[in-house]
Symmetry: C2
Subunit: 411 residues, 2 copies
């Protein structure tokens, strides 16, 4: 196996790398570039791997593909079969550079303003910790995960499968906070979260601020979370406090959340009004188009053969992950012939709840040859993972099983 | 919060630190010291914290208490509420120094001899990976966890609660391997695992080798595991291959497993015959005494107040972990008055199966004062965590809720 170099690591602490990141990290929707909600150009084939930026130097470089300082993908071949994705392997997609690490110097002092409730007020993290604890396992997935399979090459990071992970979050249920403050005011149809990133100067704040609205009903399972996978949330992943909205794409899970408001309208921040919209190919995002929000049923195979090496002929164990977004997984089928025939895979490992992914395994005996391995998930609401992606300008919500199929050579 | 120093880290790779560890790391049962199965002397109060040894330099020093090079404990106050214990915080208890890291240079080449089956043979890890995959969450707990609460101060590491964690393991079920090799031979009542540690020279191998027998029935849920918490098992935790016997204390989960034999008798290795025996106080371990094997129902509180700081008066969330060994947890009760009265706690977070622990939380309003917080778990078989420890010479199996109570000062 690979020999990993000794790397400097420092947990949960490092600052963004300042000016360089700030220059690179402005999201494309802030530049009016249209529907794409992600940032950088594809990494040219054959280019030397980029090093991890300082604020995530504690991550495992061998597990990750660095697209840019704010977009880092997990390698498909490193996903294991243990359900929970280790923090050191979890993808990064920040719409703005991470705030200065000084915000972690006193985590308990971090404040979030709760608005649109009967008794609005600011609450410090130390207050939230006294209000209740819940723990939820959730697939965290970038809206653009799978964009790399769009032949139209939408602008934005060309993620394959690795802008996703299954992560354990701990914090206080939003509904308990709301109850303590007298409940949501009438007519408030949305829950709007605002991130605490430092905004670049000289730009209209609304054009860059990370502020997203989801239906107020999503409050039911939402958390104000201070812990990820058993430790205080790292700066890179939104610590000290992150809004977690299970079943919703990554961008709706507001990092460094400083305001949680129940609102009558969706926010008019550009990341909501024009970013992350399902626009027709060639069109720019606008508020009349559907927003990228709830995740849909999806699965993919993580091994064998995803490292590009030939697979040994004979018995093999085909494994991957499947999730339903808002629904639990009912079953997963695997095809050895590119989708002509399917066999039911076995779901393995503990079931971490409907927002988590399930690991699946199919035992197969493969003689030498080449194979197109595909997986197709069905959720408990009867939704079937589709063969084809839905074309859209931003390259969002790619759940196509055909796009996620793996060609392997068996020798 | 604490500022953590930059530390050199290197994942899954580092060698034991050689002679020094070897000198320190010989288990006490190999020196004929009697019943104690653990190694070193208590860390004197007020002594400077010991640094992490090189082979676990990738762990989080701020989360750990280093008793010796082979005995490292998780601090009670760092256990979170996310069910799974991160590898960087997981305790270490090695009966011998870890083998040289070169055994990880080709993980798939690691061989384990399967014996006591119809068709005995050696299998390489690459073979095992083709035979099947299962994933199990399990409490890994040292037999001596809680020894530090024995007033008799048994020899061995004075663990408090932190020689335990809940960990996800992935590998092939032992029963599938056995089936593939024709099944267990008649009359084989035990499953005996042998570790691949390098044995110190000049000693009878049987006096030092890590070899343990469990009832053959424990095969039902046992794994030959190559993955822990989503990544290949680190050297420190028994990679490339570890025998996992859910519900059994740590020592029965053989690291670097090189032989898995179904045997008519328990092994006569000294770690089995004399180590880890429930001896009467003052007596030495011998084969007539009960062996420390299956874990029993246990719980403890991890917060608040376990960091020694005063707890703020008012609303608080008392949280901890509970597990039943071979049985799932039915309920957990919490006392605010040292066991006079009890209230039922809420189980939070996903249920990872009967071998995992559950997180529990009780919301309580505490006026200023001092409190003795205790927890008491009941498993699905009706076993109740006892008030008192069972006295024994080795300081094993401490499940006393009174011993694990936490005195907190609320201001």
């Amino acid at each position: 196996m690979r020999e990993e170099p000794i790397v400097l690591r420092r947990r949960h602490m490092l600052a963004g790398s300042g000016a360089a990141l700030a220059a690179a990290g402005l999201a494309s929707w802030s530049r009016g570039a249209g529907a794409a909600g992600d940032t950088p150009a594809p990494v040219p084939t054959g280019a030397a791997p980029k090093p991890l930026p300082a604020y995530v130097s504690w991550k495992d470089p061998g597990s990750l593909i660095v697209h840019s300082g704010t977009t880092i993908e997990t390698k498909r071949s490193v996903f294991g079969t243990s359900v929970v994705t280790p923090a050191e392997q979890l993808y990064i997609r920040n719409n703005l550079p991470a705030p200065d690490a000084s915000i972690l110097s006193d985590r308990d002092a971090w404040e979030v303003a709760i608005e649109g409730v009967k008794s609005p007020r600011k609450l410090a993290l130390r207050d939230l910790k006294r209000m209740g604890i819940e723990t939820t396992a959730m697939v965290l997935q970038c809206s653009g995960n799978g964009r790399g399979y769009f032949p139209s090459k939408p602008s934005g990071t060309p993620w394959q499968v690795g802008a996703a992970g299954c992560v354990m979050w701990s914090g206080v249920p939003v509904r308990w906070v709301v109850e303590a403050l007298g409940g949501v005011l009438g007519g408030m149809s949305y829950m709007t979260g605002t991130g605490g990133e430092k905004l670049p100067e000289g730009l209209d704040p609304k054009s860059v601020i990370v502020e997203r609205s989801v239906p107020a009903a999503a409050m039911a399972d939402a958390l104000l979370a201070w812990e990820m996978n058993g430790v205080p949330i790292s700066l890179a992943h939104g610590g000290p406090l992150r809004l977690i909205v299970p079943g919703y794409t990554g961008v709706n899970n507001i990092k460094y959340v400083k305001r949680l408001a129940f609102t009558a309208q969706e926010t008019d921040a550009r990341i909501m009004s024009h970013g992350y919209r399902l626009s027709p190919p060639g069109a720019k995002g606008d508020p009349t188009q559907p927003s990228v929000q709830e995740m849909s049923v999806k699965s993919w195979i993580n091994g064998p053969g995803t490292d590009g090496k030939p697979v040994a002929a004979g018995d093999t164990q085909i494994h991957g992950v499947a999730f339903g977004g808002l629904n639990a997984i009912a079953k997963v089928e695997v095809s050895l012939d590119g989708g002509k025939t399917w066999a039911q895979a076995r779901l393995v490992g503990p079931d971490l709840g409907r927002y988590a992914w399930r690991q699946f395994v199919l035992a197969a005996r493969l003689p030498a040859g080449t194979y197109t391995l595909a997986s197709r998930a069905i959720d408990t609401a009867g939704n079937v993972q589709p063969e084809q992606r839905s074309e859209n300008a931003g390259g969002y919500n790619n759940t196509s099983w055909a796009d996620h199929a793996v060609k392997v050579s068996v020798a």
